[in-house]
């Protein structure tokens, strides 16, 4: 389990970022800004070049422009995801409310809407890098007879009905599922769920968890999956038929 995770500390090496954008101006200015913040940056002008760069060295994070000639960002992201679980941030005109957002989320850890402000992008990069230690091995996570999580498509199956999750809700659940059965401190959830630029405080976690309970629990007043560990944090537990014991499902 990864502990809270503080901004800017990623071990001894600085994080390596591969930046892919067909606009040379943007490439130059963004690479410069990222280098100033201590990232190790390589750039590529299109998808083909990006794949060549990946053969030489594997970065910690890929930032890719959605619209590029030859191979667009989405196809590139899909191709890379098939080979390995490299976290990807997509730059696009799409935001969370767009009907195409789900498409993006299947392959991208996050997406930043153009025009972006550099501080916001940097905060998103930090948030994604903080998540690197979390691993949810299965795409479909059965937590009990009445609850299954399919976080890659931002859906929970509650009593057989699909329930949509917001990007933040699925990030929190991802973090909880990676530590199934164990308590995750509120501060950790805060760092996983929100970027620093979003002015979030612990009440964001409380309210989001309460809303998640309304969505996922049969009786939100007597939760069986999403448990509060008062004063510390939250715990996601599997229940029911025993086959969903911690460790076997996640």
């Amino acid at each position: 389990m990864l502990s809270g995770g503080t901004t800017g500390s990623y071990g001894t090496n600085s994080p390596r970022i591969l930046l892919v954008d067909d606009d040379p101006n943007l490439l130059v200015v963004l690479a410069e800004q990222l280098r100033e913040d201590g990232f190790e940056v390589t750039t590529a002008r299109d998808g083909t070049e990006a794949l060549r760069r990946l053969e030489a060295a594997w970065p910690d994070l890929l930032i890719v422009d959605m619209m590029m000639p030859r191979k667009d960002g989405l196809s590139l992201a899909r191709e890379i995801k098939e080979r390995a679980d490299l976290p990807i941030i997509v730059l696009s005109a799409i935001d969370a409310a767009d009907s195409k957002a789900n498409l993006l989320e299947e392959v991208a850890e996050d997406y930043v809407t153009k025009p972006y402000h550099y501080p916001e992008l940097r905060a998103r990069i930090h948030r994604v890098l903080r998540r690197l230690g979390d691993r949810v091995p299965r795409r479909s996570l059965v937590l009990g007879p009445a609850l299954t999580l399919e976080l890659h498509r931002r859906v929970a199956i509650v009593d057989g009905r699909p329930v949509g999750l917001t990007p933040t809700e699925s990030r929190l659940l991802y973090s909880l599922a990676a530590n199934l059965g164990n308590t995750v401190p509120t501060e950790t959830l805060l760092a996983r769920g929100w970027a620093e630029t979003e002015d979030a405080d612990p009440s964001y976690v409380w309210v989001t968890m309460r809303r998640l309970r309304q969505k996922l629990e049969r009786d939100p007043n007597h939760p069986v999956h999403l448990l509060t560990v008062r004063g510390i944090g939250y715990r996601l537990v599997a229940t029911g038929d025993g086959s969903a014991a911690p460790g076997t499902t996640g």
Binding site: D23, A97, S99, R211
Partner: protein, 485 residues
């Protein structure tokens, strides 16, 4: 497969069919029996009279003779009446049986045939009756199958499927050996001649709106009869098939148009996403370079370049939002957001540092449930609006929680001239700029987009009533939650 008809038929078969209806029990032919009755009627009185005469001759003239004669006559008359009654009853019985059977048929009971014994005229009458009942029952079954077939067809099934299905239904309903539906001019399928001993051809035209659209052809087993009523039924069926085919055709056309419209809509969305993206990319570079330069060489002109690039970006974004609102492809995510820091950030983004600004947060820590990206758009538009129409006066923002209603209110007030009465009603319309007074700037979409976005997020945007001492005041309502663990 479920065959309710079959079940019903089996039920009927299991009933005792002969009980109360009687049979043609007599072994004597009808003609013989009439002859016997006539003979009895004529011969019995004559024979009686003769016997009496002979008896009176044998006995001589006795005084008892007239009394005996009288007694004999009475006895014979009684016997004759009895014999006539019995014979009459026997004679009319088959007629009563047939009458009862006709009554049953007219009441709809078609499957209790008269049991026929013998080969006389009445037996043939009974056989004809049975055949009539059987024909009626068969056509009823055919009609029922036709109705079922018509009922089961849906325009959604498509023309090809319906054609195949209708041909199969015709085979089943009419007991055809083969059948086919040929669409197009019926004359293109020449009528076949009936050759005795060979399967008998049948055909009926399919019509739609009076126009022939095809023909149903098939063959009957050579042994099957094909009467006028059967042809009528086949034509009725063909007519229904014609109607169903036309409906399917119209449905398919509408569906195709729908699909085309959806594709067009999706293509338009993709196009606008592309345009928006391609406009945002250079704007992002312009702003980033201007900001970089301004950091090294502070210059108000560089700040203006960055601000205006930002403003242009927001307008492009707004246009994309309008099209998404209209195509219904905008689905806001319900995230948790604190309003006060968001307002402060939006105020910084629209970059009017010299304008007095106050923010009063009385939300008590309540958090709004909103899509942060869309909320930003609303705040930018409302603050921009207040700056542009507020003269040089301060812009005041107040945030309050309505704990009972479970919602937050955010009111943005300027100190300009306010909204004239005439403009209030159409302020939130598309491309409205609050009359000529406001024509000088903006896309005219800000308030429209803001209200639509607010509503899409489960809230609303209203213009507060005019009040002395202030300009326009807009209140944004959003669902809210208390900040409890």
């Amino acid at each position: 497969m479920i065959d309710p008809q079959g079940d019903r038929r089996r039920d009927r078969e299991s009933e005792p069919s002969t009980e109360a209806f009687g049979t043609f029990g007599s072994r004597l032919a009808f003609r013989t029996r009439i002859t016997l009755a006539l003979v009895a009627a004529a011969v019995v009185p004559l024979a009686t009279f003769g016997i009496v005469l002979v008896a009176s001759g044998l006995l001589g003239t006795d005084t008892t003779l007239p009394r005996l004669l009288l007694f004999a006559i009475v006895v014979v008359i009684l016997l004759a009446v009895l014999a006539a009654y019995l014979l009459a009853a026997d004679l009319t019985r088959p007629l009563r049986v047939i009458a009862a059977a006709v009554d049953r048929v007219s009441a709809g009971n078609l499957d209790t045939p008269i049991e026929v014994a013998g080969e006389d005229e009445l037996a043939r009458l009974a056989e004809s009756h049975n055949r009539l009942a059987a024909d009626l029952e068969r056509r009823n079954r055919e009609l029922e199958r036709i109705l079922q077939a018509v009922e089961a067809s849906s325009p959604r099934d498509g023309v090809d499927w319906l054609v195949g299905r209708a041909a199969a239904d015709a085979r089943e309903a009419f007991g055809l050996i083969d059948s086919a539906i040929v669409l197009g001019d019926p004359a293109s399928v020449p009528a076949e001649e009936t050759i005795p001993g060979e399967p008998r051809p049948v055909r009926a035209e399919l019509r739609s709106g009076g126009e022939p659209i095809g023909v149903l052809v098939g063959h009957l087993p050579a042994t099957r009869r094909w009467e006028r009523a059967d042809q009528d039924l086949l034509e009725l069926f063909a007519r229904e098939v014609g109607v169903a085919l036309r409906n399917a055709e119209l449905f398919a056309r509408v569906e195709a148009q729908n699909v085309q419209l959806l594709e067009l809509d999706a293509a338009k969305d993709d196009f606008l996403r592309g345009v928006s993206h391609n406009l945002q990319t250079p704007l992002t570079s312009i702003r980033a370079y201007a900001e970089q330069l301004a950091a090294d060489h502070p210059d108000r002109r560089l700040e203006i370049i960055a601000e205006q690039a930002e403003r242009l970006s927001r307008m492009v974004r707004q246009l994309l939002t309008v099209t998404r609102l209209e195509s219904g492809s905008l689905r806001p995510a319900a995230e948790v957001v604190a309003l006060a820091p968001r307002v402060r950030r939006a105020w910084e983004a629209i970059a009017v540092q010299e304008r007095p600004f106050s923010l009063e947060d009385r939300s008590g820590g309540w958090l709004a449930i909103a899509d942060p990206d869309q909320l930003d758009q609303v705040l930018w538009a409302l603050l921009d609006n207040a700056v542009r129409h507020g003269g040089d006066g301060p812009v005041d923002v107040e945030i309050a929680a309505d704990e009972v209603a479970g919602r937050l209110r955010l009111t943005i007030t300027d100190h300009g001239p306010g909204v004239p009465e005439a403009d209030r009603a159409r302020l939130f319309g598309r491309f409205e700029r609050g009359g000529a007074r406001r024509a000088e700037d903006g896309s005219g979409l800000g308030l429209y987009v803001s209200r639509e976005l607010s509503r899409a997020m489960g809230g609303d945007l209203v213009l507060e009533p005019a009040a002395p001492g202030r300009g326009a005041a807009f209140s944004l309502y959003l669902p809210g939650e208390p900040p409890l663990e």
